[in-house]
């Protein structure tokens, strides 16, 4: 009993305890092993902890079973499965706010373009199309025309480079690339419009509002005169 009690006492301090637990009965070599074990198989170490704790406490049977998934009685497995399911369901049911999270979805090799930038590039390609269409071996993607039409319709600025420059001032306030593109695409007139359409910016509204107003007034100067 005294031995077990001792182990139990040293428990709460964590990692150091595990190695000491293992190293005490053995020689120096073994203590090295013990260290290795504790670093690589920390779960095992924990099991030992709990086992001894279990012995220390009156509810020993219950707790040791619970901590011993390796031995895995049917009950223990069920318990685990149930927990997992519950957590999963909980996550699904949580209504995710309708916010832009392009950065999480996009592979690293891809970057957001503003509609006006895309219009610029696609139009450049279309100008070469007459030449390209003479060669029947060269095929044009079916989506090209629709993409170009869309870009033309939604691009409100004539000079994409300066739009990008103006909007990039917002990156230092934590505005993401995707958010910048959306702002450029909707061509907003007021800061309120921006916060309504890009709700993810609302959290930093107090910091953002002043620079955003400046950016918007710069942008109106760049608008296409129609």
């Amino acid at each position: 009993m005294s031995e077990k009690g001792g182990k139990g006492f040293s428990l709460p301090t964590g990692k150091a305890v595990k190695s000491s637990l293992k190293s005490t009965p053995s020689t120096k070599d073994a203590s090295l092993k013990g260290k290795d074990d504790s670093s690589t198989k920390s779960k095992k170490g924990r099991k030992v902890q709990f086992d001894s704790e279990g012995l220390h406490e009156p509810k020993s049977n219950f707790s040791s079973k619970f901590d011993n998934p390796a031995a895995a009685s049917g009950k223990a497995d069920w318990g685990k499965g149930g927990k997992g399911d519950k957590v999963g369901n909980g996550r699904k049911k949580e209504p995710q706010p309708l916010e832009l999270k392009i950065e999480q979805e996009l592979p690293q090799s891809a970057k957001c373009l503003m509609d006006c930038e895309a219009a610029d590039i696609l139009q450049g390609i279309q100008e070469q199309m007459i030449l390209l269409s003479k060669d029947p071996t060269i095929k044009i993607p079916v989506s090209f025309d629709k993409g170009l039409q869309y870009a033309k319709r939604t691009s409100h600025y004539t000079n994409p480079q300066s739009v990008r420059k103006v909007l990039e001032a917002l990156t230092k306030y934590g505005v993401s690339d995707g958010e910048i593109s959306v702002i450029a695409n909707v061509c907003p007139e007021t800061a309120d419009e921006v916060f309504a359409l890009v709700p993810s910016l609302k959290t930093t509204r107090s910091v953002l509002i002043q620079p955003l107003k400046e950016v918007l007034s710069e942008l109106t100067k760049l608008k296409q005169s129609t």
């Binding site: 916010e99 832009l100 696609l122 060269i138 993409g147 695409n185 909707v186």
Partner: protein, 176 residues
Amino acid sequence: MFLKVQLPWNVVIPAESLDIKGLMLQKSIVVRLLDEFASRKATKDLGYLLALTTLESIGEGRVREHTGDVLFPVVFSGITFKLFRGEIAEGVVHKVLKHGVFLSCGPVENIYLSKLKMPDYDYVPGENPVFMNSKMSKIEKGSTVRFIVIGTKWLESEREFQALVGLHADYLGPVS
């Protein structure tokens, strides 16, 4: 939203179109790449493939054992179009139904705006049915609507996307 992407691709040049002249080889690689790019239509991650802008690099060709074809790993840049959840975009109405309208937005042709997602608007039946709100703002066939994307779905067999959109925020609705 339009994306600028960099993509690796494997271009297979059939043995018969291999030429001694290096220039011709490069041309056949480009032609082949354009061909494959055009027929791929769209990918799940990057959306609709619109155009190829630059060929960044052509790797070393590897001869395929049985056919004698040569495979060149290439890297190129291009432009794609994809709708993202939470994005603001514009679409053109092409069908008005009792329970909502269908729109197209660039290359994305099946975008559904349900009646439930435009609570201000009421269905007005007739020869040309429309959705109208109290401010007499109309959503009819041919009108352009600014919306927020609620969700998208990739259809592997058709190689296309579908999207659900809504008008439940300020500054959304028909645009003149």
